[in-house]
């Protein structure tokens, strides 16, 4: 498994600088535009809605989890299809002592490492913007990574059943993007019509956003058991996705 990670790391070396740069730049741009720009208007009426929290502070944890989700979703689609279908490098791995489960778990571990980097850089930007109220933001990093994995592992399982990228657009259009918008990232789900609120419960992103927000606002102590349930749900989704990904990647590599 570690050899698979090593392979991905070698590939990554070529795009490392550009990747780190955009990991800094994108969150800074988002926080500046929405937190400062849009926030000015929101904050005029914020006291009643956000209970004394500035919009920037409300937004930052949501964006953190949502950005990591997007990176995780992407990493589980095209790069995985590349290894299975285009460059076929995963088949090359299977011709060595590596097993399909090493390929699956190695890639998941690699994605986890990538997401940790993205989340950490984002957290630094948030602190620089003064958008976190609590040092517990450090714990929001693993929560965001877990959120990303809850998307990455099921998507990876799906990717291993595909030969062409056609359906990725569907996943992003009807899955990732709506969840990005309606999982409490930009506004509390209580603002949604009552019949849509239970739908947010189904979104792994919402669970990640709620916990990240509680950590960064310093309110995690208010409902610690509920936070643990949210985390447990994320662990369950990510774990189930990983088991499924092992199975579909195994089947795909055996098929050739």
């Amino acid at each position: 498994m570690s050899r698979v990670i090593e392979h991905r790391a070698r590939q990554y070396r070529r795009t490392f600088r550009a990747s780190v740069f955009s990991s800094f730049g994108i969150p800074a741009l988002f926080l500046a535009a929405m937190g400062f720009g849009l926030g000015v208007y929101v904050d005029r009426s914020a006291d009643s809605v956000l209970a004394g929290v500035s919009y920037l502070q409300f937004l930052a944890p949501g964006l953190l989890a949502a950005t990591v989700m997007q990176t995780g979703s992407f990493e589980a689609s095209f790069p995985i299809l590349n290894g299975l279908q285009w460059s076929r490098t995963f088949h090359a791995m299977y011709a060595t002592p590596l097993r399909p489960r090493d390929v699956a778990l190695g890639n998941i571990a690699w994605i986890a490492a990538r997401l940790t980097l993205v989340a950490s850089i984002f957290a630094v930007v948030i602190v620089l913007f003064g958008a976190s109220r609590s040092p517990l933001i450090v714990l929001a990093i693993p929560v965001a990574v877990l959120t990303g994995l809850a998307f990455a592992t099921p998507i990876m399982a799906f990717t291993a059943t595909q030969r062409r990228p056609d359906r990725f657009a569907t996943i992003f259009r009807f899955g990732v993007t709506p969840l990005f918008l309606f999982s409490g990232t930009f506004f509390p789900i209580e603002s949604l019509p009552w019949f849509l609120q239970p739908v947010a419960w189904l979104s792994p992103l919402w669970h990640g956003v709620v916990v990240s927000r509680a950590l960064m606002l310093g309110t995690i102590g208010d409902a610690p058991v509920l936070a643990l349930i949210h985390v447990a749900i994320l662990v369950a989704i990510a774990g189930a996705g990983a088991l499924l990904a092992i199975r579909t990647i195994d089947a795909r590599l055996e098929k050739g």
């Binding site: 460059s87 299977y94 097993r99 050739g256």
Partner: protein
């Protein structure tokens, strides 16, 4: 490259042994109960057209495709149980390239060595040695993508040698290469054979099988239809020589019955007539005296192509 040398082992079981080996997919049977043995140090070939079951057989030997039925032993181990252990001692050259185009030529070798658990310094040492062997030393720092098809094949062969394998599995090693590139690959494979590496290869090129294989099986429609050395197969299923007559379009159809008795065996293909005999020139003389005037006449030694035609009634190259 000392690991590539193999010691004398007369009494050991065959490196690969298959009995009733079968591969079934949902809707068809790719390999239907084949038996064969591959001995240490030999070059063993699977000859047959596309879809005959060669690749499926190779993938079962390579422990990347589970067998459906029958018995298969590779390096005296069971692929089902010991897949990773067996694969550790194989060198695989797949039909489709699986090189990583995002890495350089040398990095491709390095990381592949790492998959086998070799230490980095050892990977580096072997990578340099192998680049030398396949004449790619000056391309080591280049990315894979701009390489020609022949260079990629050589790199794939180098990669398959990084673990100093006991057996090389080559699935159509020269398909799609131009003649020069093919000869270079053959030359490298021949050198490996000289060093005692066991080669198992599939091909649909007769000349490749004749050049490289000590022994081969002819596969057709998921079964083995003949087995032997190239020479034995030619002796058994063909004649010493073949006279090929080619007629102007439309003429051949008017010649029914006119070839009878001219040769031991006559094969009429759409574009030419093949006459099998021990002396091809005699056939030509006899045909001319019957008043047959082909546009072109070719007398040649019989090849595996003729064997295949005899065994299956079809030409190997569609």
């Amino acid at each position: 490259m000392s690991g590539l040398m193999t010691e004398e082992t007369g009494t050991n079981p065959p490196l690969i042994r298959a009995r009733g080996l079968t591969k079934r997919f949902a809707d068809f049977t790719a390999v239907d109960g084949v038996d064969f043995d591959v001995a240490r140090g030999e070059a063993f070939g699977f000859l047959g057209p596309n879809g005959a079951g060669k690749t499926s057989t190779m993938r079962m030997i390579g422990c990347t495709s589970p067998i459906s039925e029958g018995e298969l032993r590779v390096l005296d181990m069971d692929p089902k149980r010991d897949g990773p252990k067996i694969r550790a001692r194989l060198g695989v050259v797949p039909q489709q390239d699986t090189l990583d185009s995002e890495l350089t030529v040398r990095e491709n070798l390095m990381i592949y060595g790492r998959y086998f658990g070799l230490p980095r310094e050892e990977c580096a040492r072997r990578a340099d040695e192998l680049l030398e062997f396949v004449q790619l030393t000056d391309r080591g720092k280049d990315l894979v993508e701009p390489l020609s098809g022949g260079m990629k094949r050589r790199l794939t062969i180098a990669r398959s040698l990084i673990n100093e394998p006991d057996v090389m599995l080559l699935d159509e090693p020269t398909t799609g290469l131009d003649p020069q590139a093919r000869h270079l690959v053959w030359d490298r494979l021949y050198r490996l054979k000289q060093r005692g590496v066991t080669l198992v290869l599939t091909t649909h090129y007769m000349d490749e099988a004749e050049q490289l294989c000590d022994r081969l099986v002819v596969m057709d429609k998921a079964r083995i239809v003949a087995e032997g050395s190239p020479r034995e197969l030619i002796d058994r299923y063909s004649s010493k020589e073949v006279a090929e007559f080619r007629f102007a379009p439309g003429i051949q159809e008017t010649l029914d019955g006119q070839f009878d008795g001219l040769a031991d065996r006559i094969e009429r293909l759409p574009d030419r007539v093949l006459l099998y005999a021990d002396d091809g020139d005699d056939v030509v003389v006899a045909a001319r005296s019957r008043g047959l005037h082909p546009e072109t006449v070719l007398v040649r030694r019989s090849t595996l192509e003729d064997v295949f035609l005899r065994l299956t009634g079809r030409s190997l190259i569609e």
